[in-house]
């Protein structure tokens, strides 16, 4: 079904992927150590949350882009995920925003 040429390209492709997987693994380990180390500094909550989130987003993006191959996925998948992210953000923040706009919050 596949020509030998195809199979050779294919193998080289996978080798390249494997190198990337190992690199990403090392990066994830490093970022994990970093995020734990920073938490030891006991920063004020807003700063702590921001930094922890940034690190988590970087780690998550590495897993999504390279382990889940999202970086080379098809447009349809991107479209579904873009829609999901939009609703995810709405769900994450609108209830809390509504709570803090309530009449019981003074001042």
């Amino acid at each position: 079904m596949t020509s030998t040429d195809h199979a050779v390209d294919h193998a080289a492709d996978i080798d390249r992927h494997v190198k990337i997987y190992v690199t990403v693994f090392v990066a994830l380990m490093a970022l994990t150590i970093i995020t734990v180390a920073i938490s030891r500094l006991h920063l004020p909550v807003p700063e702590a949350v921001t930094i922890a989130l940034i690190v988590a987003v970087i780690k998550g993006s590495l897993v999504a882009c390279f382990f889940m191959h999202l970086i080379s996925e098809k447009k349809l998948i991107y479209a579904v995920l873009a829609l999901t992210v939009a609703f995810f953000v709405a769900l994450l923040f609108l209830p809390t925003l509504t709570h803090f706009n309530g009449f019981w919050i003074h001042g």
């Binding site: 294919h10 693994f25 734990v36 999504a64 382990f67 889940m68 349809l76 998948i77 579904v80 609703f87």
Partner: protein, 196 residues
Amino acid sequence: MEIPYTVEVRRDTGLTNGKIGIWLFLASEVMLFGALFASYILIRTGSPTWPRGDSILNVPLATFNTIVLISSSVTMVMAWASLKRNRFGTFRIYLGSTVLLGGVFLVVKYFEYSHKFENGLFPSTNNFLALYFTLTGLHMLHVIGGMVVNAYFWGPGAKLWKTNPEWFANRVENSGLFWHFVDLVWIFLFPTLYLL
């Protein structure tokens, strides 16, 4: 009767049915965990006080677990890569390692939970613990689910490699996507619960 695009991709979308199916399912899972994170945000911001994660939970143990889960993600993707390289034996080693690492994760969680219970810390004790147990509990159910599917592909399901290697590789890839997602959720759960 055969369903088209189970194994070969449809030309205009470039995708197989299974690949679309698993991503749609993962989209729903994003909303599931999203609701729990939204609940965490609402409850925490509405609370006059909130304990630091490291004052109640065991950070070193959870860091270890994070490393375990990330490693299992690597072995998972290596399992799929082995199939694409036609190395069935290597595939089994990597997939087996993935399941084993998942088992390690569960064992650590067992110790974490039982330590909490022994010290009188239950979901009913306060909302921090309620969220902790519910979030990690639901995550744990997903770990178990992923392990069951992976164990199937390691064991009885591997027969498919002989008759339809391309289909088998696709199914392992899709199972891998689920497993990576479980890792992804933990990447956010860990700092949220343990470090903040």
